[in-house]
Symmetry: none
Subunit: 197 residues, 4 copies
Amino acid sequence: MTKPPNPQRRSQKSRDAILTAALELCGEEGYGRMTIEGIAARAGVSKKTIYRWWPSKGAVVLEALHEAADTVAPHPDTGDFAADMRTQMATVIRFLSPPSHAPLAGLVADALRDPELAEQMRERLVRPRIEAFGQRMRRAQEQGQLHPDADLDVALDLFYGPLYHRLVLHLGLPEPAYLDTLIEHVIRALDPGHGRT
Amino acid sequence: MTKPPNPQRRSQKSRDAILTAALELCGEEGYGRMTIEGIAARAGVSKKTIYRWWPSKGAVVLEALHEAADTVAPHPDTGDFAADMRTQMATVIRFLSPPSHAPLAGLVADALRDPELAEQMRERLVRPRIEAFGQRMRRAQEQGQLHPDADLDVALDLFYGPLYHRLVLHLGLPEPAYLDTLIEHVIRALDPGHGRT
Amino acid sequence: MTKPPNPQRRSQKSRDAILTAALELCGEEGYGRMTIEGIAARAGVSKKTIYRWWPSKGAVVLEALHEAADTVAPHPDTGDFAADMRTQMATVIRFLSPPSHAPLAGLVADALRDPELAEQMRERLVRPRIEAFGQRMRRAQEQGQLHPDADLDVALDLFYGPLYHRLVLHLGLPEPAYLDTLIEHVIRALDPGHGRT
Amino acid sequence: MTKPPNPQRRSQKSRDAILTAALELCGEEGYGRMTIEGIAARAGVSKKTIYRWWPSKGAVVLEALHEAADTVAPHPDTGDFAADMRTQMATVIRFLSPPSHAPLAGLVADALRDPELAEQMRERLVRPRIEAFGQRMRRAQEQGQLHPDADLDVALDLFYGPLYHRLVLHLGLPEPAYLDTLIEHVIRALDPGHGRT
DNA sequence: GTCTAAACGAGACGGTACGTCTAGTCTTTCT
DNA sequence: AGAAAGACTAGACGTACCGTCTCGTTTAGAC
């Protein structure tokens, strides 16, 4: 019944102010204490304008992260796969700390109870990063730094699983030394040639 | 200043009704839509009684899960470590999948924004299961099914990390065949003898 | 600072559509539920166009009523003053009764909280009708049907006061028989010869 | 579905604070600009508490007026009916004039678009005053100051009609001298013995 | 077996944020 | 330049829960 707004007439200024305010407030007060009203006030924007373009607080944060994310944690390629993974994962860890103020952690929490948001998060935020990881991994295989039969899915699970496991069970994100240990184990796991003789 | 209530005079009937109502409502409406008011109404209990004994909705669900959990996913010991892990992890996966995932997923979501709850969850729900996993792993080492130098933390991260990673990023929990692949990789990773020649 | 629009370039079509839409909506949904947005939508006109020419919803309705009113309740002159008053007042009563009372009652309500609108209503809608009543009364005096010293203000108050009194206190507008009784009383009151002996 | 609140547990303090705040705000900002939010803030009360006991702003003002009204305009009885009417009507006029006219005028305006409120206003605010007027009038008849056949309804219409007529059409409430003239006319009208011989 | 203190049910309270609504302004595009 | 379309800021609306706070009413341990 209520016809959708016309995106062509959208105010770029308001959009930017909203996304900026959301990230700021998330950092200052934590995702949980941040409210739509607070975002509107900070951005100097009417609540209506937020509700016109986003269905929920999570959707705003998702778009803000999407906007910022490409520059945040790219996969470097220095030629040393293990070292590059260490660099990239350290960035991700920094991005998830501290959990209560991390936009991504809040988004993860909301997505656990909002399937629509979960799908958006997966498709817009997660998938592209999985893709980027896949490309880096394939280069590592071509350069002989990773076994050519290594499975992308398994690699993803073993590299990043520990991070989210520790994040959501509050076991403490890995320290650098432990991160090295983890990466070493995973690379070994991905080499099927190392099975028992 | 408000003195704590006397646990000796606590009504067992109310406590049980509250925990039962919480799990029921969680299943029926979802964790997010469940409210303290709703639990009180369903349990035939005053809101005050809930707030007297628990600080938050999450704490109620945590206790309800704690009550139910010991029986949920014990670590079997048939003598075959890989097979036992497969069995146990399959149980965990079932527990993390719809429709039964609501209470735990909701709890995880709340804990991401409530450090107090996060600590309770870790100490009461997670730690005991880590301990149980540790015992099973040590037996596997004694029986020569796992390398004696295998690191407990790494093992935990690599076995269970993929599950939570996939849960919170909504990538779909592992199917049985893929679960086998994962376990195989992890056991290989835990064997330092499989390092480069 | 915003200069007034040039009335010469005003679109007659828009003006008519707005006034028509206002009266229609007033009848269909009631004055209170009618909105400027609704009028604009119904008239196929931009809100801006309404605000350009009228300061408020009340002003639109006022103009619409003004347009329609001259033909509504003229003072007949059959030579019988009492009978003519009965006719005219019956018309007014019909105008103040459901379902047609919506525009005027709404206007009256708005004017009670908007002095600007109140003044417009008095000058454009009320004054001309008082003038018309005055002319009819003076003819009645010339024809000897009303005492030559009868006071116009008092006559107006006593004839029409009961109508508005009953309208705004929701006491029910006069039935025909009671209207006769009222008119009889008023005409008697206006004859100072009928003072105490 | 939503069961009504229990009046026995109602907080008298909140009720009084709300009614007081409503009348104060009405005087300070005017009925139209007064909001439920404003009343709640001024009274130090939650909006919910207002909505729990009253359906609308008008209902609050109605109750506040009802509370205050008995003491406002009683019908004196000095033995001189005309003089007493003059006194009482002057009080009413003062009550309907700025700045004190705000609550009643606002209520009248709201009642014109809210039938429920209109009925409440009539039954709780208007009827009792009509009854009081009727009693005074009957005493005047017994004391021979008013014709024994004088009609209560007509008397009410002719005495008070001019006040409301002038109020809602913004013609200016009667000055004292004109009030005398009016009363004189009305008393004459109510004496059927003064008809033409 | 009373007595009595505290836990209980019920639910009203002050708050906060929600998501919706309309007012009135401003911007863009078309005629 | 006027008008249509409609996005914008502003802010009140009425609702939902929150967590706190009385109220009487059980009820269980101590006397």
